[in-house]
Symmetry: D3
Subunit: 139 residues, 6 copies
């Protein structure tokens, strides 16, 4: 197996809260992550793709294509945005690192398959100390 990984970055605001809970309940469960006026992060996103090497190009996938699709479908939607308020594919969802990683998977998996490769992992780092890796719904 061979995988290729591309790192992209986005800076966003978010908070962890449930609208069906009081602010007090949210703070009991989510602590300072429930701050009602938001907080934010420099997120680092690592998209890992697996596939066969094209013997003509030596590529698993064209990195420029991969970077372009990530810019267009993920980074433009998330960068300098409020994850809870501004992002169509996160509307009504908890914006935990776990959930954001899963929703990013859904947005890009088909495009990558259309290039003859497979999305292998979405890794999303919220800080240098915390990150999530999602390997898809079938593993």
């Amino acid at each position: 197996m061979l995988t290729l990984t591309r790192r992209e970055r986005f800076n966003a605001a978010h908070k962890l809260y449930r609208e069906d809970w009081t602010q007090k309940q949210n703070e009991e469960v989510f602590g300072k992550c429930a701050n009602k006026n938001w907080h934010g992060h420099n997120y680092e996103l690592f998209i890992t793709v697996k596939g066969e090497i094209n013997p003509i190009t030596g590529y698993v996938i064209d990195l420029k294509w991969l970077s372009d699709i990530l810019q267009k479908k993920v980074i433009e939607a998330l960068d300098h945005k409020n994850l809870n308020l501004d992002v169509p594919f996160l509307k009504g969802k908890m914006c935990s690192t776990e959930v954001v990683a899963i929703e990013i998977w859904k947005i890009i998996a088909d495009d990558i398959e259309g290039q003859g490769a497979k999305l292998h992992c979405v890794k999303l780092m919220e800080t240098e100390n915390n990150f999530v890796e999602y390997y898809g719904p079938n593993i």
Copy 2:
């Protein structure tokens, strides 16, 4: 000259905007940093102190004291907060990296002088690509 530096981190939301401008004017000047629903960063803060070495301890300043005062006066005020809305010492100010660095200086310079050392530099990193260094009002 000998300096000692302590790194601390905080995660916060902010935006760049002037209340006396329209949203359109703000976006023309501040671009995506003016997103009305905020965005955010993992800020890295480097506090550099200069002074003489205490011959008894080999210290310029007690790092534990420095870390504690930074936690109490800076990190608790900024971490998991909205810089524009939640921070008393930033009220009514532009929350650019430059201004936040200067305001952090004001909050801690006297405490450090009270320990027999001098604040030398406040370095504030907004992302891995952008940072500010402030050397105080007298340099």
Copy 3:
């Protein structure tokens, strides 16, 4: 599969040696790592947990709980300590990165299982150039 990883750090002294060998034998096998007066490292520890997302919170596991248990059971035991002399769960063991990683697994695996998740990997970095990943006794 979805995993969540938490990084913690500890600074410790250790050496590689067998008490049943002479200092000369130890140095032949372990080189400078057998220095009789110890040496030390800034260890970085990455604890990776896997599990299902809780639909209420969007969490695999509560990161604050994870960080607290790691502080209490691992970091307090290892930080600013001598791994060979000061740590009950390493007594009489080789303090290679491999062995320390395995012993950390044993200390925390059950607590994590008690939270409805599973410990997936203990990654221990001794330097920026050397690290170990342990995936448990059943893989």
Copy 4:
């Protein structure tokens, strides 16, 4: 399963091009990576080995042996070299990150097996944003 990873680095020139294509064709497919006068990178190489712990030493493999064999067989061949022109084991091959990772695997897998361990992964980083992981021909 337990793995041990060693990081090494090399600085090299390369370009992506096919001799059977015109410069224009190469630039259409490989973009700026086809620059006819070469470009270069600080490559980071992570070699991951898996195996049983030797109960005498607490080692999966002797890291000094691993670092020495990597220096002798890989780093001396690639560091401060032109990957396309100077490296016997890359002659006539596309010097994409994918292909270089695979060829490094071939050069070292047997030596590692000779030590009673198994090569698990060759990770090759071309930049902080792009890397490849190769898990061998049988996975």
Copy 5:
């Protein structure tokens, strides 16, 4: 004093050699950096600007303007290029890190002054272990 720093990156090939020396002489002085078929690096460039804060914007300089001018005048000229062969402002010069940093200064200092700020430092990292800082011809 307040400074603002922007990081940019470029990947380039180069070698250290004098045309008026034999290859043997070049290798005696420059070692493996004189490899006749070139080698290369991922260079990191940190441009530090100093100035007064604009009270309207809270900026020392518009970072987007700074990044754009660096892209246009520096990165486009150097990225995925051969420093010795492809770069007009390095023609006929030694391409040591020192010299490249000085030549980058010359290319951008006036533009920055045209914005009412001053170029303070050009820092150029060749590897994680080696870097140069140039503070201009008048210091």
Copy 6:
């Protein structure tokens, strides 16, 4: 002014304590850094040299010479050692980061001057959060 910096690393054990104090006194002042069985760090050392560029070579100083002298005089003395017990130039001294940085300056300043350059700064990082910069006895 132009400076060149070289990074080197060493892994060492140490503790902070005064022999003329009781263990209790040492722990009151130095906290966990006074652990009687030592602790340790991966130290990062940045040696910054300033000087004129040699017009023949484009060098401020020969980096290979600099790295070799650092290996011979500093790294061999400190790496995989106990700073308090094993290092002749630290005997009887507090092994705080401040003091170690100053003692490293004394060991190498004359050699660098002998090459026609000047030692400008010794930066010593104890952890990712704490470091010292020493600019010499005359500044």
